[in-house]
């Protein structure tokens, strides 16, 4: 493959791709907003949130974004409020920027200079022009040193070997005289420094590790949380070497965050139990806010004490008002927690984002995993979350102290070609008990209510894990939809929508129509041809082709050259409909389903193919390798059109071609109508795109039609149902892959009684043209057969065969024959 990549790209009707124009961009807005604790402004009207290199200022009142501040070039590590309307931010390179909160403009940019340090871990601002910065420790990894920097340039080291999380450093206790106390956590001890008075203290408890610390703003009171879930309140910890401690113990899991209210009367604490606990200092009373959705990372109190913001691991910031209710939330794209217990038995692809990226044609969004048991729909055009839906409808269970309790996880998702139906597969398994549950759910989109409604819930659709599921494409709502699942119980099953209506109610539900197997082999991959007339299921190294309506086995394809189990399989699109591209552990090859021959093979790949994604808008296909190389190729030939070198060290998980709403004016053919989106194992989104194209972030020149996703309102009814456009309409294509041409029409003519037939003048032209197509594909098949003979005779050399012996002209005429309709034939006959 590397050799191929170096060769010049070749293609009969492709313009030479200028590789320098194609770049890989990281999508910034998709990064999480909960990596750093948010900061309230002094008037508690706005909240500042760092997400990657950007800072967002949100209104607390409405949870809407007010400003987006983009000047930093590396990730922001800390935010602070300097004055009433000045925000101070610092990034990992030590660059600090002062912003005006009211209009979102930059005031001042200055670097923090600490001799010999290039990387910073966290940033705090106690006031008076002093900064607290944590830098990587010299000798121990994962530990930090804390510096106090006066006026950007005069650093003084406070502590060494402290924990590097933002929650392990705290300052406060001005005691009414403006003194400053800084505390930091080491694994088993708390180090204290009174900067004004120059007192040093180190407090230790038992063997429980500390996780977080907070200081009272006025009094000498410190709160620490540890991994056993215990909260300790330390009194007068600066002067006494054995201070008085109060124990507050409710949490069973480690305390992730503690926070004093601004008056210092209450403490808020939270952890992985998804419960926020509100303690009253000096009393045993506590209030709970349970089932907050996902585990709490940070708790921040507003200066006016009216609300509390909690950062959650599902990438959301929730605002809790004084009555202990969640009243607003800022929700970002949810990162999927890797499924525990899967990592040792399954590849990483199964544990991190197992659904991959699934395109939804209705909303033009992408479906993928959210938190356990949830599914989210993300709009890449607007770069926003459309919704997050609860598929499992179960209580999210939290772990016990020494016990991992799994939740139901969505493993597979499929969307019907019209977007009306959504099929989800959720699995819950308890590895230790050897017990597992599996549910296949069918959801129907309700346009009036603008949400998905559960239609059918199938318990244990297969006896063992389902490996793939796919809707039959190409029908565009003309027939009853059909879903195919394959599982490790060696079976494939075909599910159809059954009309279950009787005189009392109208109802449709899904039920299993056919279950089949093939020589007791494990099915590993599944693909439908673009028109839905042919279904391919790979059983280890053998590809079987089925007719999806009658479930007849048409052909089996296997070859001595390809004997590894097939892992991925996709049909070509557009005029490459006849090619079936398969990927095994070390090889990539294509079958021609009409001539039933092996067309080409690329062997000895550097690393295995992770994703094989066809572009729905062109004939091209992308192969994403495990080492993050990407090859774009046309299934008719093994020569890649474009090769993207290794992006970084991360491993790609999923990829998808996302159709553009506006085609590119110029550029390589495969980028004109769509762009390639790749997700890595850190769940960062990358986009392979042309330099000239408008990025995902930029405003679109024409608004996207969201006709279907709109809820029904009188105003939506006023919108035009149809918009005239010059863009090519999506028409269902039917490829002729088997059978005699015109057979059907002759049959129908003979079977219909003469009295029921429409007048001859009306059906004559239709009937004749049906017969005329007959000659087109036949000629092609003959030619291809001759090609194929040469293929199999060729010796296997160089790990790579290319059977394109035909010259240029013949190939184009071939394609012409295939793609043009009967109109063209009628003309030549005349």
């Amino acid at each position: 493959m590397v050799k191929m990549a170096n060769k010049k790209t070749r293609g009969p009707d492709k313009t030479q791709a200028n590789t320098s124009d194609i770049v890989v961009k990281k999508l910034d807005d998709a990064t999480d907003i909960v990596r750093q604790p948010p900061v309230f402004t002094n008037d508690s009207k706005y909240i500042c949130i760092a997400s990657g290199r950007q800072i967002g200022i949100y209104s607390v009142e409405s949870a809407d974004k007010v400003h987006s501040l983009k000047e930093h070039t590396v990730d922001v590590i800390g935010l602070a409020i300097k004055d009433d309307n000045i925000l101070l931010s610092c990034d990992a390179s030590g660059e600090t920027i002062e912003w005006n909160i009211n209009n979102g403009t930059m005031i001042k940019k200055a670097p923090i200079v600490v001799a010999g340090i290039k990387e910073f871990h966290s940033f705090h601002y106690p006031g008076n022009g002093k900064f607290l910065v944590a830098t990587p420790s010299m000798y121990t990894t994962n530990m930090s040193s804390l510096w106090i920097v006066d006026n950007y340039t005069r650093p003084r080291k406070l502590f060494a070997d402290i924990k590097s999380t933002p929650q392990s450093i705290a300052f406060g206790c001005n005691q009414g005289n403006g003194s400053l106390v800084v505390v930091a956590l080491q694994d088993h001890s708390v180090v204290v420094k009174d900067i004004t008075n120059g007192v040093d203290k180190k407090h230790m408890t038992d063997q429980r590790k500390f996780t977080c610390v907070a200081l009272h703003s006025e009094k000498l009171i410190m709160a620490t949380g540890d991994i056993s879930g215990r909260i300790l309140i330390w009194h007068d910890f600066v002067h006494k070497s054995r201070p008085v401690k109060t124990v507050y113990h409710w949490h069973t899991l480690p305390v992730n965050s503690v926070c004093f209210s601004s008056e210092g009367e209450y403490i808020y604490s939270g952890g992985s139990e998804k419960v926020m606990v509100k303690w009253r200092l000096g009393m045993s009373r506590k209030q709970f806010l349970p089932r907050m959705g996902s585990s709490i990372k940070y708790i921040v109190n507003a200066p006016d004490n009216i609300c509390v913001a909690t950062s959650h691991s599902d990438n959301a910031i929730r605002f809790i008002d004084s009555t202990n209710k969640i009243n607003r939330a800022i929700i970002g794209l949810v990162k999927h927690d890797p499924i525990r217990g899967f990592a040792d038995t399954e590849p990483i692809k199964e544990s991190v984002m197992p659904t991959g990226l699934v395109f939804d044609p209705r909303s033009r969004g992408i479906f993928f995993n959210a938190q356990a048991g949830f599914l989210q729909l993300y709009d890449p055009q607007k770069n926003s979350l459309i919704f997050n839906m609860d598929v499992a409808n179960r209580n999210v269970l939290t772990d016990e102290r020494n016990l991992v309790i799994g939740n139901a996880e969505v493993l597979r998702v499929a969307v019907s070609p019209t977007g009306e139906w959504l099929a989800t597969l959720e699995v819950w398994s308890n590895m230790s008990a050897g017990y597992h549950d599996m549910n296949l759910k069918f959801w129907r989109y309700d346009a009036v209510q603008a949400n998905y409604e559960l239609n059918t819930d199938v318990t244990m659709p297969h006896q063992d894990r389902v490996t793939a599921l796919s809707f039959q494409p190409g029908l565009l709502g003309t027939e009853m939809p059909c879903l195919v699942t394959i599982g490790r119980d060696l079976k494939f099953k075909i599910w159809r929508l059954v009309d279950d209506t009787d005189i009392y109610r109208q109802k449709e539900s899904w039920s299993c129509d056919v279950a089949g197997d093939f020589r007791k082999l494990t099915p590993s991959a599944l693909s439908f041809s673009e028109d839905g007339s042919l279904m391919a299921i790979a059983f280890q190294d053998t590809v079987t082709l089925w007719d999806p309506t009658s479930i007849n086995l048409n052909t089996t394809l296997s070859h001595t050259l390809v004997q590894e189990p097939i892992e991925l399989m996709e049909f070509g699109r557009d005029h490459c409909f006849r090619y079936l591209v398969c990927a095994s552990k070390s090889a990539l090859y294509a079958w021609d389903v009409i001539s039933q021959g092996l067309v080409w093979k690329v062997g000895q790949l550097q690393s295995s193919v992770r994703c094989l994604v066809p572009d729905p808008k062109s004939c091209f296909m992308a192969a994403v390798l495990q080492n993050s190389e990407v090859f774009i190729f046309s299934p008719s030939s093994s020569k890649p059109v474009h090769a993207v070198p290794k992006m970084n060290s991360s491993e790609p998980i999923a990829a998808l071609f996302v159709p553009r709403s506006n085609p590119l004016a110029s550029g390589p053919e495969w980028l004109i109508n769509s762009r390639l989106l790749i997700v890595d194992d850190q769940q960062e989104f990358f986009c392979v795109d042309d330099v000239s194209s408008a990025g995902f972030n930029q405003k679109l020149t024409t608004p996207i039609s969201h006709m279907d996703s709109l809820p029904w309102t009188p105003f939506s009814a006023m919108r035009a149902e149809k918009q005239i456009s010059a863009a090519k309409q999506l028409v269902p294509v039917i490829h002729q892959t088997s059978g005699i041409q015109g057979y059907k029409s002759v049959q129908s003519l003979l079977e219909t009684s003469a009295s029921a037939l429409p007048p001859m003048s009306r059906i004559c032209s239709l009937f004749m043209s049906d017969l005329m197509i007959k000659h087109g594909p036949k000629a092609v098949t003959a030619k291809v057969n001759s090609v194929d003979r040469t293929t199999t005779d060729l010796p296997f050399t160089n790990g790579h065969i290319d059977t394109k012996t035909e010259d240029f002209n013949e190939e184009t005429t071939l394609q012409k024959l295939l793609t043009l309709d009967c109109q063209w034939l009628v003309e030549t006959v005349k």
Partner: protein, 545 residues
């Protein structure tokens, strides 16, 4: 704050007859009151106004029954031979009957006196009807003719002799006094208009001797029965066949409308009466009788169903009144009462967005329905508080564990998911252990719950294998073992039978292949569907059974 989600209870549907609104409605008929007559019951007619007297013609007399007291209110015996087809006028004052000697006799119900005799037919008259204007009478006779008579003058107005066999069925329009239908043993049904004396306006072929005909109140559709078939005809389209239904396996003899014209009832010699939906002609319910049904009568309020049978039995069934239902089953009715009250209370805050799910009994597919109340059950309350033992205790009460095992299994499932099964099962005393063990023994061979029950049984054995048990619990453990052994034995037998069947099937397929060496080549032939034009032209045909 997300609300606590209820434990999902999965229950599989029961195989068998579906309980629909119609089955419930028709099941409310009481045990029949039977009266024995001397001959077969030829015809039953119901007075269209209260008190819904029933005219029964059998042998040589016509009797008028009171449907409430089941007593004979009047009887008319002035027939020399058999009397046929007694019919009451819409005002309930007069009754008319045909007889073997070919006369049509008119009686006054109040005074029992014979008022008129219409003479003119040469054969027995089996059916006669009043027209809607109440001053004319139509008679259908075995002399192959249909005649219209004037009541006051006792004269024949018009006579149609178009049939070529006995005319044994007939009915009149309830809108126009000039329209009437006749059905004959020559397989035809004819529609006559008294204003056009030249002949019938519509004539359709039923395909077998017509036993009964009926015109819908709208007068646009008429129905004929005969043989084992029911045929529906469109009158406005000149007698186009709309539907053909064949649900009886012997001759259908009678036809009646019920439920305010929404249901159609047919009775047949196969001792059944079938109730159809008039829109789809699907059978919604079946009534069974001890003898072949010859005639049917249903009061307009569906309160009484009367069937006359070939052995002379008349069966009268009443619908249960509220008071009767309460007297029969006081407990249940109390529950119903309570339910209606609670339903009202919960309707105020019912979650209308909750998903509706229903059952599909075809496969193992469960399409379940979520209950729509916001009611939090006790086990959910305990699960929410992580009190697993108490949650299990609440679902092991005798009522739930016997009547609703799906709930017990659902809670056990949730406990497995929460990894709390062990702590819930551990440390139990004798009585609570015995209730768990009896539950497990009872349900371990239920395939829909088996995987969860087995998991629970394994955990239970693991916990109590080393502890000393009382003889009582030991006995229950042994009982459980016996259940498992029996199930294993049973499955073994089934697998043996399956193996035998496989051999049989395999041998038949090989023989079939040997018989026809030419397996069809080329693309498979698909059955052709009619085109849109053809479909609209074709008539709807039901061929069931």
């Amino acid at each position: 704050m997300a609300s606590f989600k209820k434990t999902q209870i999965r229950s599989l549907p029961k195989i068998g007859q579906k309980v629909t609104a119609d089955t419930l409605y028709w099941r409310k008929l009481n045990f029949p009151v039977t009266v024995k007559e001397f001959g077969p019951i030829d015809y039953i007619d119901v007075m269209p106004i209260e008190p819904y007297f029933i005219a029964v013609s059998s042998a040589a007399k016509v009797q008028i029954y009171n449907p409430i007291t089941h007593q004979v209110h009047r009887h008319f015996t002035r027939f020399k031979e058999a009397a046929y087809g007694a019919s009451i006028r819409s005002d309930g004052k007069l009754v008319i009957a045909g007889c073997d000697e070919g006369h049509v006799k008119l009686f006054d119900i109040g005074s029992k006196s014979l008022l008129r005799i219409f003479k003119g037919h040469k054969g027995p008259v089996h059916r006669c009807k009043f027209t809607t204007d109440n001053v004319h009478v139509v008679s259908f006779s075995d002399d192959k003719s249909v005649a219209l008579w004037d009541l006051p003058s006792e004269t024949e107005i018009i006579k149609f002799s178009e049939h070529s066999d006995y005319v044994r069925a007939g009915c009149v329009s309830n809108i126009s006094s000039d329209l009437f239908l006749s059905g004959s043993f020559d397989h035809t049904v004819k529609l006559y208009d008294a204003r056009s004396p030249t002949g019938s306006t519509i004539s359709v072929d039923h395909g077998s001797p017509v036993e009964s005909v009926l015109m819908y109140p709208s007068n646009s559709i008429f129905v004929s029965v005969g043989g084992t078939e029911l045929r529906v005809w469109d009158m406005l389209a000149g007698g186009r066949l709309l539907a053909r239904v064949s649900q009886h396996h012997k001759t259908i003899t009678c036809l009646h409308l019920a439920s305010d014209g929404k249901r159609l009832v047919t009775g047949g010699l196969d001792r059944h009466a079938k109730i159809y939906d008039v829109q789809s002609y699907q059978v919604v319910h079946t009534l069974d009788f001890p003898s072949p049904v010859l005639s049917l009568g249903i009061t307009p309020d569906d309160f009484t169903v009367v069937a006359g049978m070939a052995n002379g039995l008349i069966s009268m069934q009443h619908r249960q009144t509220q008071a009767e239902a309460r007297a029969l089953n006081p407990k249940q009715s109390l529950k119903v009462q309570k339910k209606s009250q609670t339903a009202y209370r919960f309707r105020l805050n019912a979650d209308f967005r909750s998903v509706n799910r229903t059952f599909n009994p075809a496969t193992d597919v469960e399409v379940a329905t979520k209950t729509d109340t916001n009611f939090v059950s006790r086990y959910d309350m305990f699960l929410r508080k992580f009190q697993y033992s108490k949650a299990l205790d609440t679902v092991l009460t005798p009522y739930i564990r016997k009547k609703k095992p799906a709930i017990t299994v659902g809670v056990m499932h949730e406990l497995i998911r929460r990894n709390g099964l062990k702590s819930a099962l551990a440390g139990r005393d004798d009585s609570s252990l015995s209730s768990i063990l009896t539950f497990l023994a009872r349900n371990i061979n239920d395939p829909s719950h088996a995987n969860i029950i087995i998991q629970v049984a394994n955990t239970l054995l693991e916990i109590y294998e080393s502890s000393s048990l009382t003889p009582q619990s030991e006995k229950l453990f042994l009982q459980l073992q016996e259940h498992v052994n029996r199930e294993v034995e049973y499955v073994k037998h089934l697998m043996e039978i399956e193996g035998m069947l496989h051999i049989l099937l395999a041998s038949t397929t090989t023989q079939a292949r040997r018989g026809s060496p030419n397996v069809v080549q080329g693309s498979p032939v698909k059955p052709m569907l009619p085109s849109a034009a053809a479909a609209s032209n074709a008539t709807m045909i039901y061929n069931v059974g």
